[in-house]
């Protein structure tokens, strides 16, 4: 079996067996969406205008929980050392985990979209495009997030450190995702959607290649 597929299968199986955790993370994201509306007040027009930003902030906050979990199980009983002893390229390990995290975050984002539609009365006219942006944005979070989770899982204060490292880094991805989502919800009279989508794609391409390159150095002893 291809090492990448084997790693992906292992991580998906792990996520499936701890699916209650994913439900908890989803509830966390949904409650964040609920709380954001208190910052604006019961103003339907303003809430709709900021719906895209709130969706991505909720997903970003929830993603730190999901990403941190993804390496927790590798640290228990020193499973990571066992994995590194296998005659497989560590890159396969990284991409397996990163793709599994991407799928998990996409699922999370897709789950939060209906909550956003209900709470903020966001338009659903361009749902396929919205899901595409969710995939691209989730990819932007999961590539550096998986790398940093591999580091922070091994140190003290891991829960503080992961967001501290991840949040400033993903600013371009976050901006691109928020703008693209808002344009899809509110309409795009100036035709700016393509530019923001390309920014997201560029971020994804850069970090999916760079993080795969350096992952080996991060986990080697």
């Amino acid at each position: 079996m291809n090492p990448f597929l084997a790693a992906l299968r292992k991580d998906l199986l792990l996520q499936w067996r701890t699916r209650s955790q994913l439900v908890a993370v989803f509830v966390f994201g949904a409650s964040a969406l609920l709380l954001f509306s208190f910052a604006i007040g019961p103003n339907a027009a303003a809430l709709r205008q900021f719906a895209g930003g709130f969706l991505w902030l909720a997903l970003l906050l929830a993603s730190t929980l999901a990403l941190a979990d993804s390496f927790e199980s590798e640290m228990a009983q020193r499973a990571l050392e066992g994995l590194l002893l296998l005659p497989a390229d560590p890159r396969a390990l990284y991409y397996g985990k990163a793709v599994a995290n991407l799928l998990q975050l996409t699922l999370l984002g897709a789950g939060l979209v209906p909550v956003m539609v209900v709470l903020y009365d966001a338009s659903t006219a361009r749902l396929p495009g919205l899901l595409g942006i969710v995939v691209l944005g989730a990819a932007g979070l999961s590539a550096p997030g998986t790398l940093y989770a591999a580091m922070t899982a091994q140190v003290r204060a891991r829960n503080t450190l992961l967001p501290l490292l991840l949040f400033p880094l993903v600013v371009p991805a976050l901006l691109g995702a928020v703008k693209a989502t808002s344009l899809l919800i509110l309409g795009d009279p100036m035709g700016q959607l393509a530019a923001w989508t390309w920014l997201l794609v560029a971020f994804d391409v850069i970090y999916w290649s760079l993080c795969g390159l350096v992952f080996e150095r991060v986990i080697e002893d």
Binding site: L147, M151, L161, L165, V171, V214
Partner: protein, 231 residues
């Protein structure tokens, strides 16, 4: 690492140049026509901003060398450069706010350069925190170098994304775009900050190197082992 005294000399030269350029800028350079005396903060703000970018670029180079060739000297320089970069970008944000309040009427604006500097401040501040929390010196060196490379690659992306998003900052000042009367204090201060930072950076790197040496040194022999050897 060496023990020569040139970093002290360089630091002193930097301080002297800064004192000269700042006195010139505050006391003798002409008042700017529109902004008045507030504009004089440019004599420290612009040199700080230039040097902040320079120091962070140096950190990136240290991280590359540290990753590709290894060596504790480069890790020590990396540590010093990250710290200096965080201090300088923090200063740029503070000076920028002081200048923005009377000029734009707000402390903060979501302009590309300002926002990028703030993102850099938080990004490299996070890397400093990472260094604090990793006890193993080898992992600390590799991880912080990886994090610096990843954060530095992000800089143009942050800059252009924020630029698309919003823009208000005036066009960059450089000796070509400002009047001749303002040149000299700006140039003197730019070299002043450069020498000051370079001197302090080398001293800080030496300190980091000495700390690494004590961290990596074998533990001192126990009394029984000494007694057994001398018996």
């Amino acid at each position: 690492m060496g023990k020569s005294v040139w970093p002290f000399g360089l630091t002193g030269l930097g301080l002297a140049l800064l004192a000269w350029g700042t006195t010139w800028g505050l006391g003798f350079a002409p008042r700017e026509a529109y902004m008045g005396d507030v504009q004089r903060i440019m004599y420290v703000h612009v040199p700080t901003a230039w040097n902040a970018m320079l120091v962070l670029t140096f950190a990136f180079l240290c991280a590359l060398v540290s990753l590709l060739r290894g060596g504790w000297v480069w890790d020590a320089r990396l540590e010093a450069a990250i710290e200096a970069g965080v201090v300088l970008s923090g200063l740029v944000c503070i000076q920028g706010s002081i200048w923005a309040r009377p000029t734009w009427g707000v402390w903060w604006d979501w302009d590309p350069r300002l926002t990028t500097t703030a993102v850099l401040l938080f990004g490299f501040g996070g890397i400093l925190a990472l260094r604090q929390f990793v006890d193993d010196p080898v992992k600390r060196a590799v991880w912080s170098a990886v994090a610096v490379v990843i954060a530095y690659v992000d800089v143009p992306l942050v800059y252009f994304s924020v630029r698309w998003w919003n823009s208000l900052h005036q066009v960059q000042s450089s000796p070509e775009t400002v009047s001749r009367a303002f040149h000299w204090p700006l140039r003197i201060n730019a070299f002043g900050v450069l020498f000051l930072v370079a001197g302090l950076l080398e001293l800080r790197a030496r300190l980091a190197f000495m700390r690494r040496e004590t961290e990596l040194a074998p533990p001192p022999p126990s009394e029984t082992a000494v007694a057994a050897a001398t018996r």
